[in-house]
Symmetry: C2
Subunit: 380 residues, 2 copies
């Protein structure tokens, strides 16, 4: 996943295109559709003719009740999420879930399985260890984080409570080909921060899913939690209210004054996804975009190298290096001059990372591929 | 304070004035200055010519570094906050602090003093009790929450770690005339969610202050924490990273991808306060506004009644009832027709509540007072 710390290329160093906008490859906060932004602009000053903007109205008033219901309805419709699951709009980004998940469910003496497939699972493991016993059942570092576990490779822990995994690893550009299978009796928790709604959602076997907003869903600071209703019970330890899923569910995500703007923005973004044709269309675009960039790598005669092993290649984050790393700063500069922003890789990987979530136009990927081909020809 | 659950009057039932905007008395999320909203509108699509909006840029990039620094600088300048204190921009509203404060500082076997002066301190006490020993040293319920403790009335607990109080109680419309004095060796923690920056800030004797954004500072979902640097050490128990003040401080409020929009909005709001003349001017306006409404109550021959005892009357929240409560729905309806929105009191108090934070024009208070006088004359 990735609540990511991407490139240091400042937007101000990038030359916007004639439209005034750049192709923004930021890993998150990430580019958003212009029509979503324009809707939010209007709603800031006057939401539906009420004479007040979305930042100014009560989270308990009739108008916001309607807004939140619309957001939940759109979010459910996009993912085809049944009423077997509660949908929560929670604050503080996905990292807060690294703590809340074990605090609610990992009892003293119990354990949970966590395969480590990149920066964000490492952080989830570290936070989990502050709470209870975490079994690090796979160490991606042994494979340079170039792939995720293969079928049959994962050894789960008998008696563990749940298995936590991250379905797409933003920093390293890898994904799981199929979800892992938890130990008998254990349930599956998925961090879907970077791939939620970039492809059709399959909740089969998944009891708990969470995703931060700032990649495919809109604003940062908002985390969507999809939780099977049987998990909505008192936590295994005493906890303040804001850390309890059951309390958030009872309060319909308004235990306190929530981030109302973010709740609305996620809804507007989900409505945009529906207008575009839903997740089948999102998946098709993601595939088209990543294919364009991967072809530029594959056809470069070794000038460019993808980080991920090909069967685990993420469809939304393509991490690549130049065979001659000294050329990378020049490439980033030329890309910025061409209106391609935020392509620098995460600080732990270096190189380049093209993050291409739902709002990235296919034209953006095409423009990047063209610049890559041209640069390789001139410098190869 | 109040992360408040105010009136059920829907904005759509209110008739906007010729400007298209209403006078919005919502307790929070609350009205904001139009010029702040217009700045945020522009920044949503193109932040400073970079070709991307505030929702779309990396929280680690140069441009956002600058934005966050400007927000912190403006926030410090408004409150004249020295470098003895760290300023943190934290997620999840003030209620998250109800848990974080004791989780970080209240060791097993220790205790903390909490006078209960209203809905939000009751919640802080309940959350605190999930963590450790809370001494409820004053019970406002015994006084109908019509006042806060008088000088000398509070009995603190020897050996307690800290004293937590809420300087302005939004729901009941009361304030502390002077801050309480904690037990010898204990430090003071203040919930300033509804009165921060409505008057000059005095941090003397205060080690920890927090305030949610949605009243005087802008957007909901953002909490400002002002913490004396000697408190920035490892917490008294093991905690996931997002619950640790020391970790947030080390990461300069970017432990994960934060609510970048909210961080910027607080800065834009603080810059607006500075342009208006700072906290002396804000205090003067708050006094003028509350005086207007209180005069309408005082001069009504008992038609209207204020909830708070006069020495404890909040300058930003005026809670009042009609002597004949049956008239209240009619008053709320007539006020709405006059473009005065969200005046219904909190569900636990009923009646009317006029919340008038920094962005409420004096004209709004004048309009409300006029409607109150007129209504009393016609129905008295």
């Amino acid at each position: 996943m990735s609540h990511a710390t991407q490139g240091k290329v400042s937007a101000s160093a990038v030359r916007p295109m004639a439209s005034g906008r750049v192709f923004n490859f930021s890993a998150g906060p990430a580019t958003m559709p212009l029509e979503v932004l324009e809707q939010l602009q209007a709603d800031l000053v006057d939401l539906r003719g009420g004479g007040a903007g979305i930042l100014e109205i009560s989270h308990r008033g009739e108008l916001f009740e309607k807004i939140l219901q619309e957001s939940e309805d759109a979010f459910r419709k996009v993912g085809n999420i049944s009423q077997d699951y509660a949908v929560l709009f929670l604050p503080a980004g996905a990292t807060q879930q690294f703590g809340m998940l074990p605090l609610n469910f990992l009892a003293d003496g119990a354990s949970a399985d966590y395969p480590d497939t990149g920066v964000w699972t490492s952080k989830a493991i570290a936070d989990g260890k502050e709470v209870g016993k975490i079994n690090e059942i796979w160490k991606g570092a042994d494979f340079g984080y170039r792939r995720t576990p293969r079928a049959g490779e994962l050894k789960t822990t008998p008696g563990s409570t749940y298995l936590h995994y991250c379905s797409n690893n933003t920093v390293w550009g890898t994904r799981w080909v199929a979800p892992p299978q938890p130990a008998a009796g254990a349930w599956l928790a998925r961090d879907a921060s970077s791939d939620i709604y970039a492809e059709p959602l399959d909740l089969k076997g998944c009891a708990f899913l969470y995703a931060s907003g700032q990649k495919n869903l809109g604003p940062s600071g908002m985390t969507m939690v999809v939780i099977r209703r049987d998990l909505l019970k008192a936590p295994v330890r005493k906890l303040p209210s804001m850390l309890r899923y059951d309390e958030h569910a009872k309060a319909e995500s308004r235990l306190n004054t929530p981030a109302t703007f973010g709740m609305h923005a996620v809804g507007v973004m989900c409505q945009w996804i529906l207008r575009q044709g839903g997740l089948v269309e999102m998946q098709s675009r993601a595939k088209t975009r990543s294919d364009l960039v991967l072809a530029a790598i594959r056809n470069s005669n070794g000038f460019w190298k993808a980080n991920a092993e090909s069967e685990c290649q993420s469809f939304v984050n393509v991490l690549f290096h130049a065979a001659n790393p000294k050329l990378e700063p020049l490439f980033l500069k030329e890309a910025a001059n061409a209106g391609l922003a935020a392509l620098a890789g995460h600080k732990v990987t270096g190189g380049m990372r093209a993050s291409m979530y739902n709002a990235m136009p296919v034209e953006g990927a095409k423009a990047l591929a063209d610049v890559m081909v041209d640069f390789a020809q001139r410098n190869g």
